[in-house]
Symmetry: C2
Subunit: 243 residues, 2 copies
Amino acid sequence: MKKKKNPTACVIIIGNEILSGRTIDTNKNYLCKELTSNGIDVIEARVIKDNEKQIINTIKQVRKKFNYVFTTGGIGPTHDDITSLSIAKAFKVDLIKNKKAVNILKKYYSSNELELNKSRLKMAYIPKGAELLHNPITKAAGFRIKNVYVMAGIPEIMEAMFKKIILKIKKGIPYISRNILLNLPESNIAKDLSNIQNKFKEVEIGSYPFFKGKLKGVNVVLRSKNKLEINKAYKEIKKKTNI
Amino acid sequence: MKKKKNPTACVIIIGNEILSGRTIDTNKNYLCKELTSNGIDVIEARVIKDNEKQIINTIKQVRKKFNYVFTTGGIGPTHDDITSLSIAKAFKVDLIKNKKAVNILKKYYSSNELELNKSRLKMAYIPKGAELLHNPITKAAGFRIKNVYVMAGIPEIMEAMFKKIILKIKKGIPYISRNILLNLPESNIAKDLSNIQNKFKEVEIGSYPFFKGKLKGVNVVLRSKNKLEINKAYKEIKKKTNI
């Protein structure tokens, strides 16, 4: 019987401020963690500029390669928010005023006694044919077009959007993970690990050395969808390292 | 007179542990910040798996598009360290035992009374024709092949390697950056910012909203290589926002 593969995903972080190093990107780690724990394998992540051509080319390229693409950033009201238009161009559809999105914004701004000015209305322009993604915080919607999910860049809003998305999409089997912390250089156990990896093909064995001042150690991380196999591999590593 | 363009760079973080969300990637931010402050424009960053095919394809693609490519991760002694071999394959050269690298390791391990075992020796296999990159901490070298700089994944070692690299490579003109913090929603100033952006083409004006509990505010960041222009744009934004 052929084993079912997990859905694959690519995360695209859009924003000049990340690439200049000014802003620390926390969205990537959040999305990687949440997708992985839902059995969706993140194969690649990219950070790109708020540049129309780069957004178009990236989206065209990755959406063919992965089941899901999740973007964050660039859907706000200012001149540098060009993600929605660029995504529309990548799909060769028009960016149109979405009635539902307008109504959501109207309601939100009138209840806060604020004017729905032209800049705010910009956030209701959505690629034709896209489905709105609910934003429970500031109400300006994200959207899904085909397999591409376009979310806000502000972490609080992105996370709120994602929590709604994850309820609806197809998930896979989450990997089980086991961890062995060793206070020795990884080169001491490299040969054993290699042999054990060759024996247990269904287990992904990662070796992650670390430094803490002068102390050298290694985290051996086992990941698998097969509980029996991961436990066997775990025992063998424990035995070899005498702990 | 045509203006000189800054060199461009792409940062490639190699490692399953980043994509599973287990490890927070700090290397990207370090490299983005350091490169930017040296006038090298980071146009793209990618995180990819410890997967030979993915590494080869990524390197082939990005090395043509950017002046520099910096990779981190996957050059250690264990079975999951496949970066060096994959890079050799991307350049269609052999991975060979580098005499200089062997001697450095020999000296280091003998002075620490440790055996230069087969796993440790793996770190002396370098693509043919590559130049070694000094690692002052654990001595296992990184390497440069053409415009691709291959560094370790452990932040302390990567940073030590990079500090040597940056002394040697061609830099550009760093951007001057000015910041205006406003305690108002960005949609209030979007129109003015757009007009000012249209007026000052040499200034990149970014608008980065944030949430702190319920407080909404925005960081307006101006970046330019032209001091006169950035100061003019800064004054206009200050005037428009009455602060």
